[in-house]
């Protein structure tokens, strides 16, 4: 049974179909890539999955549960983490706090237990700090754990955003153009991290322009064009698919 399955999803903006009856499945434990030229509806699809927007029709199932009309914080509570196309780290907090805030759902306690700083809060906060530092260490950000997140360079902010999503311990991780704006070496580092996640049992769903990277890390690739799913399959098959080639060539080259 697939972890995430999307059935006949349609979304319109002012009469323009951004998504037209798209159905696809993401298998548990796999890495799935989603590519397509600009304006193909990739970001819309992501917004619908993470709950920023609601579809006009169709269904989204996650772990066999219908999440189509859930609020986005409920979805993340179920185990869907995400990053954003334009980085959205919280610049008013330190790096380590960004990651610790990612653990929000896993830390329990009411407002009063925090206000009174009960003993078990003390231990849970300490553990959270320790775990956040471990995550930062694995991303190579530990050296800057106490600096303000907005002071980090762009690439590091992207990594931090990934770290924050990881801190949720998600089952499904949605990455929205993780490689955009990164240097080549940063992209390499990023693909390593993504490949590692498979071993940790995290399912990853990537939207990406950077074809090379997606082809490398993804087990399976889906191609969107003008709001329709035009191809799906193994990277090498997709690469050879004539419909896909045509879509990219007629729209000008978006892949590199």
């Amino acid at each position: 049974m697939s972890l995430l399955s999307i059935e006949q999803l349609t979304k319109e903006y002012d009469g323009i179909r951004a998504l037209d009856r798209v159905s696809l499945k993401v298998e548990g434990g796999s890495i799935k890539g989603l590519i397509g030229p600009n304006g193909a509806g990739k970001s819309t699809l992501f917004h619908l999955i993470s709950g920023v927007e609601k579809p006009d029709s169709g269904k989204i199932l996650f772990k066999k549960r219908d999440i189509t009309n859930m609020e986005s914080h409920e979805r993340s509570a179920l185990g869907i983490g995400r990053t954003f196309q334009t980085v959205q780290v919280w610049g008013n907090m330190t790096v380590v706090e960004n990651v610790m805030a990612g653990m929000h759902r896993r830390l329990k306690g009411s407002l009063f237990s925090y206000g009174l700083w009960l003993p078990w809060i003390r231990t849970s906060e300490k553990e959270a700090l320790k775990e956040a530092k471990e995550i930062l260490n694995s991303l190579g950000l530990l050296g800057k754990w106490e600096s303000t997140a907005s002071q980090l360079p762009y690439g590091k902010q992207k990594l931090l955003e990934l770290g924050r999503a990881l801190a949720m311990k998600p089952q499904l991780l949605l990455l929205d153009e993780p490689a955009s704006g990164l240097t080549l070496s940063e992209i390499e580092q990023l693909s390593e991290r993504i490949s590692e996640m498979r071993q940790k049992g995290v399912t990853v769903f990537i939207v990406e322009h950077h074809m090379g990277m997606v082809m490398e890390v993804a087990d399976e690739i889906a191609v969107l064009h003008n709001g329709e799913l035009i191809a799906e399959g193994k990277p090498e098959n997709v690469r050879r698919n004539s419909v896909v080639m045509e879509a990219y060539l007629t729209r000008g080259s978006a892949g590199k």
Partner: protein
């Protein structure tokens, strides 16, 4: 650090800068850089401040000083609650004075009409203010920016009209008189000095509570909501709920402050709970520096003294007061502490260089 440099070549420099430097240098210590994680832990410094607050009334035994500081403490409670909502969660509320008023009137009515003790009335005030905040917060808090400001302002105005018009319950424009002193188990807080310790004890307690909140998961969630609501809900933070929680908490603080205020002033009338309170407490939060816990307390002390000094000029006090507020907003939009820290570092560097240069000349 010495703020009195050697006399000599810097004379024209000092004339310009010393007058805000000396009194405000203390404040710069009070408002530390809020961002560093380890700064959010409790420090020995906090104990010193507590000691200073505890010893201050013994050093200055002037009853007027005690009274102004009692008022400052009440404002500090209000500003603390508001700071959680505005400084941390990044929302805007211009209706906080209404919760203050609800607390005061609950206490006034319960003690004078129904003969409850002030201690019971205190808890009733906290509960009533939070309950109203819960009801009003649910619809209002989905608004943002100007609309949120306007809606909360509107709520405050509705409250004022209700108070003025429901004469049977609240005494209308005249208000309610003869509220008893605050007392616990027979011990009555009937002098300014006793009130001072009562109020500042409460401030210290709430301060620790707030500080615990902001260094925990909740504080992080609040900051996250302020910076990006989309990102906050992407990690599973229930944004509407946490806004509501903190709004209600702020209202509870205000209700508590209102109850204490009613007991100390022994009256409650609508004049005290309008924009005349909202503007100063919002200013306290801004001046102290958004997103700090020391800030609102420092801002409360500063502004209360300012208002007290200005009240001597009678009809000129309001124009002067508003000009000072506007000037403060223009020159210290991020709060006095943060900007001053930078300024002082700059000055230290300047003096050090200057002294070196002078010594070189000699």
């Amino acid at each position: 650090m010495s703020s009195q440099p050697a006399k000599g070549a810097q004379k024209e420099f000092r004339k310009r800068d010393l007058f805000y430097l000396v009194p405000l240098w203390v404040l710069s210590l009070i408002a530390p850089d809020p961002y560093l994680y380890h700064k959010k832990e409790f420090k020995r410094k906090d104990l010193y401040y507590l000691g200073a607050i505890g010893l201050a009334p013994l050093t200055w035994s002037d009853p007027h000083f005690h009274h102004v500081m009692v008022l400052a403490g009440i404002y500090a409670i209000l500003a603390l609650g508001l700071s959680l909502f505005m400084g941390y969660a990044g929302q805007i509320s211009l209706g906080h004075a209404a919760f203050f008023g609800i607390g005061a009137y609950t206490t006034a009515i319960l003690t004078t009409r129904h003969g409850f003790s002030p201690f019971v009335a205190l808890w009733a005030s906290v509960l009533s203010a939070s309950a109203v905040a819960y009801l009003i917060g649910r619809p209002i808090l989905k608004l943002k920016g100007y609309f949120l400001a306007l809606a909360t302002l509107g709520f405050g105005e509705i409250f004022l009209v209700m108070v003025r018009e429901s004469t049977d319950l609240t005494g209308g424009v005249i208000g309610i008189f003869g509220i008893p002193w605050f007392s616990v188990a027979g011990f009555s807080f009937d002098t300014y000095l006793k009130q001072y310790y009562l109020i500042w004890g409460v401030v210290a307690g709430l301060f620790i509570f707030s500080k615990n909140l902001v260094r925990s998961k909740l504080g992080r969630a609040l900051l996250a909501v302020a910076a990006s609501e989309d990102a906050a809900s992407s990690v599973g933070i229930n944004v509407p709920r946490i806004k509501l929680e903190i709004f209600v908490l702020g209202a509870a603080f205000a209700g508590l402050a209102g109850s204490l205020f009613a007991c100390i002033m022994s009256t409650a009338n609508p004049e005290t709970f309008g924009l005349g309170v909202t503007v100063p407490i919002v200013m306290m939060v801004i001046l102290g520096g958004m997103g700090t816990i020391y800030g609102p307390v420092a801002g409360a002390i500063l502004l209360t003294w300012l208002m007290d000094i200005l009240s001597r000029y009678q009809e000129y006090s309001l124009p002067i007061y508003s000009i000072i507020l506007i000037l403060l907003l223009i020159f210290f939009p991020d709060g006095i502490g943060t900007r001053l820290n930078v300024r002082i570092l700059y000055l230290i560097g300047y003096w050090a260089k200057k002294r070196k240069r002078d010594e070189g000349k000699l």
